[in-house]
Symmetry: D2
Subunit: 310 residues, 4 copies
């Protein structure tokens, strides 16, 4: 049930052993703009985003699994930021204020019950288009990029965990997200995946049970396109320019999204998506699938084995 | 600024001198389902809508202009319904409770400062798919229709008025919608059009200055598609089956929507749209165009003269 | 190398144990029109086809594999029809004239070296739209159908055989088709699949080595769409209305076609396709892939095992 | 009626007062590749074209109207080249052999009865992809470009003339093209526009009556896209990067093409198109429209006045 404490997913920090190659993928293939560099990090945003960045890439040693730095949400206002801090502190999950990251004001760091590194902030720096890049459409801060197949905006993250339910309850009951959908393992009430959302899109955080029971991970970060054709153009480009394609383009049954999963050079799974439904009902009844109903596939191919891993 | 008193545009009642022909257009061309008939009215819904109906067509004598019966919004909850009643009563715009319309609970009728017939309700009857029509996707209550080019859901209404600002202030300041966009007449602060929204879509109510200064009218009712191709398929069908096409398919600059305007047999302008941006920021700064910037056209043709009329 | 003896693939006769169910699939899902019934057969055409039919469905007992009745080509003229008869007779493959099938003049029946039942005809009956079905576009004989996701025209057949090369040489060297593409088994010159065409589309006959070495079969019959979205709409409909989907929507590397394979109720594999390249060069150099290069997949999923069978 | 003397439209030479700006438009916006520079000329090709170039841009003083250098067709073979020379010489329209232009063998220059500068050639140089640009799809010589919205191939030219019929008869009766469509002025047999084709696409040469009766001109040069979305992406880019848009994106009734007309920096009208029908029938009956039926518009807006000029 929405509490309107969080207004949206703000940005994601991905750690990559090849930060320059990763940045080149996001700028050349996904048409993103580099908004800043600072230390070991490169900040990027999509063409329709007003915020300073939606993606922070940070150089890191190659690890066992692609590592997420943090996942940041924007509060619904300054009071809601304080209220969120009270809530996570009361749960014993708070980690304290983080100050001085580029592009936004003070942020509070906390963990989900499964250990995911979350942050919440309110104040944000608006990105200013450099000379010549502002365009005739005022509802986005810049012209459509003419390179690659440009993403419009950050859409969602999918986090992996040992058990879905405690994380989902924390996100919905405490942080005030709506529980839009779930798939439960047949004959049980154990959640295999749950989709939750802070606003009207059908999910900005999805929570998946890790097949090996690992905690605190990320399955993928998803960017939004206006049309399926743009995603298929990206698939053409990925094939021709040797980007690793993992699944799709195809269509999910749950979420109704048209999707495409690729791996950026640092090993992170990136989803590109469009379509799907919006949740408008404050009394939305969580949509339920059985795992055996294969919520993942509306059409075009089964889930590849690799998708079960990080 | 969102107050979260209204959760969404619920339904629109259009008066038509040819109710059967009008209903045939919505079912055959737009793939809508008839959910009920009652007296002089036919109730219809789109395939992804859970509510009993999003459109009520009511037989009426042919008037000077296409006549709207009422425009109904769903509150954000029962308390928010009461709060809305208090607000409009305090403004002297309340008209009293309406009971017994099909498909939803008690509704409160009121007028905008320009006389538009609005209603607000909370309780709603969920549509139940008849045998064989429920499909494998649980986030919509039925299979995709196989006739015409089916619309997914009601998107917005555009109302016309003598002056935009008082209506826009009522909708935003009193009813708690976000003021997403406006175009002002050059050299003045007079609003030519304003887009307002009760949720994250960029507008569910747009307000246009009537070229003749008439009050309380409706310019058009808009339904949503998942893709541009579906709208172009509809254009093909409209041409082949003699539906009056008024403008597009083309793309708006304001709202960024891909659009198509047609006239249903009763004379009402119906917009079909997809794409566009979402508003996530609680501190969204109203996007401003000058009338001379032609907010209406991103590409493909000027606004036809007829679009200025009812 | 084109000899311009054949102008196009004309029609395909598929034998089905459930002729009514098969016909319902082609009319309801693919938007085809029934042009005639005669004895055990139902004749169908797509909305942009001028000929009497492109598909003949004939009632037959359920066999071990979906059975093709015959595959008919239109000659490039009456002299070319005679020339084709001379050529196949000289090869000892002629079977004689067939007279009196609906929708076209006399046809000559012959077999490929692998036993496929081919016919060639010149005179053809033009389909006349019944009252109210002729539309404003004169380059197709009827309005766009408003049901299902309508196919535009017959595109190609894929025939299976014990060995590709003799069939491909017969079709290209004798019948005068262009050899557009092939995939050869690595380390050999044995053709796994060859694409051949009587005109500028990249193939109207493709020839595949049957995995079990069976002769004279058909892998699939393909219809053409104007856009990928129409094919994805069909996929939605197939999922919701329980049509068996086999592969795709996705994109081939060879042919560059966007494809979708389904099974009609009689068991025949039907491909729906769009895109791809045209062959304009009279001196076209046959494009060559190795089997290991996986000509079948440009993106979106591997060839399912079932695709190797009939 | 096809004589198969010409196999395809080969290339077009456009004279431009701003050759560098023109070339930048074709490479940056349409994703074309520069294949050579020679003297005052820049040669360009689209990503799926095997020939050395399909467009030659030549520096020229700014004239009264955009000026075409020449329009070149590829013969169907060396004998057909000789046969074409005999035919045009017999008509007194021959101008002699041209030798030494880049990218193809000897070409014969001639004029249409209305003075259009035509050439025909057979031998052609195949473009070789530079290191790293050859991709995994062998039916095109290079990877999909990742800049702008890349065109696939040259599609057609539209030439303007004092009277259509003599030019159309020359192209069809003498050069052996098929007369696919025409629109005649109401109450007369005078052709306003005729579509003719040397192969299966519905036209590679269209012939339009010039509104001022001028001879020997060109209305536009058209490039082909695989999808409508790519054309709409180009429209977005044109709007954001200040390319002059003239008409569309929209859909023609004649040809059934989805179209978009822009002006390149040198003033030439360039059409971008996709869709439409193919002509397979050797006995195709020329499709006929009346001028009053407005063959130009299937949907989305009337022909702008400017389209009537050069």
């Amino acid at each position: 049930m929405w509490k309107h404490l969080v207004s949206q997913l703000g940005h994601v920090e991905l750690k990559t052993p090849v930060v320059e190659e990763s940045a080149a993928f996001f700028t050349d293939m996904l048409g993103m703009e580099e908004s800043a560099r600072d230390g070991d990090s490169i900040y990027l945003r999509a063409y329709a985003e007003f915020h300073h960045h939606s993606l922070k890439l940070t150089q890191a040693p190659k690890g066992d699994r692609p590592d997420v730095g943090h996942i940041a949400f924007r509060a619904h206002g300054p009071e809601q930021l304080d209220e969120l801090v009270r809530i996570v502190e009361a749960k014993g999950l708070g980690e304290g204020w983080v100050d001085g990251d580029l592009g936004h004001g003070k942020a509070f760091r906390f963990k989900t019950p499964d250990g995911h590194p979350f942050e919440v902030f309110w104040e944000v720096e608006e990105w200013q288009a450099p000379d010549g890049l502002a365009g005739p459409v005022h509802t986005r801060p810049q012209k459509l990029p003419s390179r690659g197949s440009p993403v419009r905006r950050l859409d969602h993250v999918n986090i992996t965990c040992n058990a879905v339910q405690p994380v989902r309850e924390f996100i919905c009951d405490d942080l005030g997200f709506m529980h839009a959908e779930m798939a439960v393992i047949d004959g049980t009430e154990e959640e295999l995946i749950s989709l939750t959302t802070s606003n009207n899109i059908n999910h900005d955080v999805s929570i998946t049970k890790h097949p090996k029971g690992w905690s605190g991970g990320i399955s993928h970060t998803a960017y939004w396109y206006d049309s399926r054709d743009e995603i298929m153009r990206l698939a053409d480009l990925c094939r021709d320019y040797d980007v690793e394609m993992e699944w799709g383009p195809a269509r999910h049954r749950g979420s109704e999204l048209f999707f495409f999963y690729v791996r950026e050079p640092g090993g992170h799974r990136i989803e590109l998506c469009t379509g799907g439904y919006l949740v408008f009902a404050p009394d939305w009844k969580t949509v339920r699938y059985l795992a055996s109903e294969n919520q993942a596939v509306y059409w075009s191919g089964e889930l590849p084995e690799s998708m079960y891993g990080d």
